[in-house]
Symmetry: C2
């Protein structure tokens, strides 16, 4: 194998071409690490990303370049297992996955040298993020690969932390709560405003300030609104206004009850 | 009365000393409108705000100055009714409340000249906001007061809109969904991280990017996470991890179901 314990990671094969792969691939490339090949089952996004990164493309595991320093599985949770089941990593090639929600044990018996590189961010292909800010949670089973992985991660981000799989799964759960759920609330708001011909834009100063407060003070102390004031009259009226939207109504009820419990 | 149809509003009596009163009082003052008096039931915050605004202070409705151009009820929903029940506004003094969730009908039979000035923002006393950005939703029953109220509002904010009470109550409901609920999710996240000795700071880049996406693209299109991917294995694992936190678990379940419905 081309890998040695004394050299740093210079070449990467990137498996996947979705949101995480797109951002990670570009950040690797920007950091001077050569993405030599992109693997993706569907050619369209795979070829596009390969072209952006000046990499070759394949949709066959058997056609992977066999001399890269690192193989990055930036694919869906189920695709990680499927790719590992190919047996391709059994010979000791260094492989990491990027999933917040998949234990390092997924590699057991299917790879020799492995780890995790989890960028905790919400990625959308084509929308650049400041990757230097993105927390990277890393894990490596094999001590000899720890230094290489940490060094690579530090070239990508200023915020690199070692966590074990249990901690990472917990962080991922919290990440869902602070990112996916608020975004869904914005989506529901957009829907409610659409129904009345109102623009979502009108909510933007409020959304921005809510986030700004969370950055500068404890969210528990920043809580405002009818529920924290236990204003049941307003809560009941809001629930009545949501009668035609049973899922929004249920969210409203459960959230308000939870806020009232915190008093 | 000192008010005339031809002059603009120069003097204000501010009733309340909470978060909304604090921000509105300072913005009125910064815009060159003289807050002549602060009323508040409890002296501590009332005196403090009065002093900041160079205004006098009272805790008695009967001691209100009777020649101000405008009386602003920046108090809790229930206090609005209580103050109006005093009968002090029956003689035609121009009075507005600032509540998103209270219909203009609250004034009926209790005031002659009245309106609403609802600043849609999450206010925390002592944390400055850019008030010029804050959407102000205004309403006035009496046509002759509409011009004065609009003129005043435009001195406070660049975003002034006329809405009726039904529209305002609807906007307030949506504001709760995009502000109070995401903030509560941040508070729950803070609690979950505390339990493991982790800092809420680690979530800040993710929270910032989630908000940033909502500013620049449709939140419905920005949705990421296990629920939108219908990854039931991860959802079930997260629910199991939340077993000791029944209210967070319920929120997780209801939010995930709602996200899955949107596909």
């Amino acid at each position: 194998l081309a890998n040695s314990n004394h050299s740093s990671i210079g070449t990467v094969v990137l498996l996947g071409a979705g949101n995480v792969a797109w951002h990670l691939g570009h950040q690797l490339s920007d950091a001077g690490i050569h993405v030599v090949q992109v693997y993706n089952r569907t050619p369209e996004s795979g070829l596009a990303l390969a072209s952006e990164l000046n990499a070759s493309y394949t949709h066959e595991i058997s056609q992977l370049k066999d001399d890269a320093d690192l193989y990055v599985l930036a694919v869906s949770d189920s695709a990680i297992s499927a790719i590992l089941d190919s047996g391709w990593f059994k010979n000791g090639r260094f492989v990491v996955h990027t999933a917040g929600s998949v234990s390092i044990d997924v590699f057991q018996g299917k790879a020799l040298n492995y780890g995790v590189l989890y960028p905790m961010q919400t990625f959308t292909r084509g929308k650049p993020v400041d990757f230097r800010d993105v927390p990277l949670f890393i894990e490596a089973k094999n001590a000899q690969w720890r230094i290489k992985l940490e060094h690579l991660a530090q070239r990508l981000s200023e915020s690199v932390m070692w966590v074990d799989s249990a901690e990472r799964l917990y962080l991922h759960l919290v990440a869902v709560i602070v990112s996916n759920f608020p975004n869904h609330l914005y989506a529901l708001a957009e829907q409610l405003l659409d129904e009345k011909g109102l623009s979502f834009d009108v909510m933007k100063p409020l959304i921005r300030e809510t986030m700004d407060k969370a950055m500068s003070m404890s969210p528990q102390k920043a809580q405002t609104g009818p529920a924290i004031r236990r204003n049941k009259e307003v809560i009941e009226r809001h629930l009545a206004m949501l009668e035609q939207y049973p899922n929004i109504r249920e969210i409203y009820r459960v959230m308000s009850e939870s806020i009232m419990k915190k008093i």
